[in-house]
Amino acid sequence: MTSLPQVITLPFTYLIFVGGGTVLFWLLWIFLTRQIQSKKKFTSSSEERDWRIPIIDSQSGGDSLFHRWDPRIKLCALVVFMFCVASLTQLFWASIALITAFIAVAAAHIPFQYPLRRVAAMGAFLSMFLVVMPLTAPVKPADTRIVFEGISWMQFNLRGFFLALLICLKAIAIALLTEPLLSTAPFSVTIQALARLNAPPILCQMLLLAHRYIFVFQDEAGRMLKGMRARGFKKQRNMETVRTLGNFLGMLLVRSFDRTQRVFDAMTARGYTGTWPNGVVFRVYPNDWIKGVFWVMLGCGMLICDRWLNAPV
């Protein structure tokens, strides 16, 4: 990249193309996410959010290298790998990580719509980096800048752009890997594995409880919204809407609390003392260790290459 001149001046018309292209890309992005959502939507009103919560372990019935992996070793190895990916500093190795993540998703036999939904959720946050960083990164002597004729106050710093791109690549790679990590075993088994790894028991239990209650809440919220809409409530840009939504949230809390208290009492009456019965038996085979060592070595190898090798690109 040393061969590039320090300042590239482009005619003003290019800016219009770049700006138009960005807007087009943005519109396309919105269109695509709408498409993804509308495919699964059953309600006709477009103003309401999709209240359904993704099932975390939707693919746990499948069979693949990831499904047959002991959840404890899977958790450790993949989390280590994710941290290695998060520490990468070169675009080339981050791209390799992204390709690895794609291969992992394919190897786990997970339909791509699930990991892609995760990527879409990060869209706003990541595009903020892509837009803001090139314009605001402080200019260092060796930086290449793109300047448009006529407007000198706006400088497009390529170093900032590449930094933002690096962040995007790493974030998408790790988000894709979350699917093979979590959805290839039932959620309760994953949490059990976490507990066997000496995670604080209260954290694990509360995670399971809260995960259960989310669906109680969702059910309650859906019913209340239906009632509100039947009485003519429509989201508008005024204080009345804010007041109604505040009361909605308060009522949601009150109702769910009453319901949860009853459930908890019932659990206590049936002998709940704060621990779940241990139903899952974990068995480790040499295969599990091989996979674990493979992923940890892969992560560390990429990190070492990233630090000591100058990538070809």
């Binding site: 959010r49 209240w51 994710m82 941290f83 990916v85 998060a86 520490s87 939904r117 995760r118 990527v119 959720a121 990060m122 706003a124 946050f125 903020m128 980096f129 803001v132 960083m133 314009l135 605001t136 402080p138 170093r159 930094l163 995007c168 690549l169 974030a171 790679a173 790790i174 988000a175 979590l182 604080p200 209260i202 954290l203 239990q205 509360m206 409880l209 809260a210 995960h211 209650y213 989310i214 809440f217 919220a221 989201k235 840009r237 804010v242 007041r243 505040g246 009361n247 909605f248 949230l249 308060g250 009522m251 949601l252 809390l253 009150v254 769910s256 609390f257 009453d258 208290q261 704060g274």
Partner: protein, 207 residues
């Protein structure tokens, strides 16, 4: 807005995990077993709040409610926020898996501060409670955004611009959140005031 993977320096995300786990363990110790349902409910509310969109100006913002969680749970708020953040990350990818610790600290510490202030400032006076609730609810968002900016800036001077934009982008959230917190507190005072009692000194008479 939660920090995604690959943004923070690895030292910071690991440090976030260490700090988050330590404070969550302390927070868990403050909770009596009987209060577990309450914590789980507020955790789910914290989770669901991110799905409630409030229209404002040309766009819409979703609620964050760290302040409200602090008001409702006191010292237990940090545990609740950490769990909510973890679930948001695992289910929706709101916030990265490697950044769960940092995100928990970012929202959890403001929740604790809001909770302490609400308890210290609110007397048994309904209108005063509503005002204090609104202010501490807004303060929760303000402090969270401040922490977000500070965390982003650990990445170096290149991140200063992004941190500034993120702060400005949260101004509408701050306004909405202040209003919503006040409304929720006034609603709870009228409908179920025991939810606002100090959960750790008075017993919950939940039914």
């Amino acid at each position: 807005m939660h920090i995604s993977d690959g943004v923070l320096p690895t030292v910071v995300s690991l440090g976030g995990y260490a700090a988050g786990l330590a404070i969550a363990a302390w927070s868990a110790k403050q909770i009596r077993p009987d209060d577990l349902p309450k914590v789980a409910v507020v955790t789910s509310a914290f989770f669901v709040a991110s799905l409630i969109h409030v229209p404002i100006g040309p766009t819409s913002v979703h609620l964050l409610i760290p302040g409200l969680v602090g008001i409702l749970l006191g010292n237990g708020a940090f545990l609740s926020i950490s769990l909510g953040i973890a679930l948001q990350s695992l289910l929706f990818q709101f916030g990265g898996l490697t950044a769960i610790g940092a995100n928990a600290v970012m929202m959890g510490i403001p929740a604790l501060i809001s909770g302490w202030l609400f308890r210290a400032l609110s007397r048994n006076n309904a209108s005063r409670r509503v005002w204090v609730g609104a202010t501490t609810g807004g303060l929760g968002v303000f402090l969270s955004v401040l922490m977000l900016a500070l965390l982003l800036m650990t990445g170096g001077e290149d991140f200063v611009g992004v941190a500034k934009i993120a702060m400005y982008a949260h101004l509408p959230v701050l306004a909405i959140e202040t209003a919503i917190s006040g409304i929720v507190v006034s609603f709870l005072i009228r409908v179920k005031p025991e939810l606002l009692d100090d959960a750790f000194t008075s017993s919950i008479s939940g039914r």
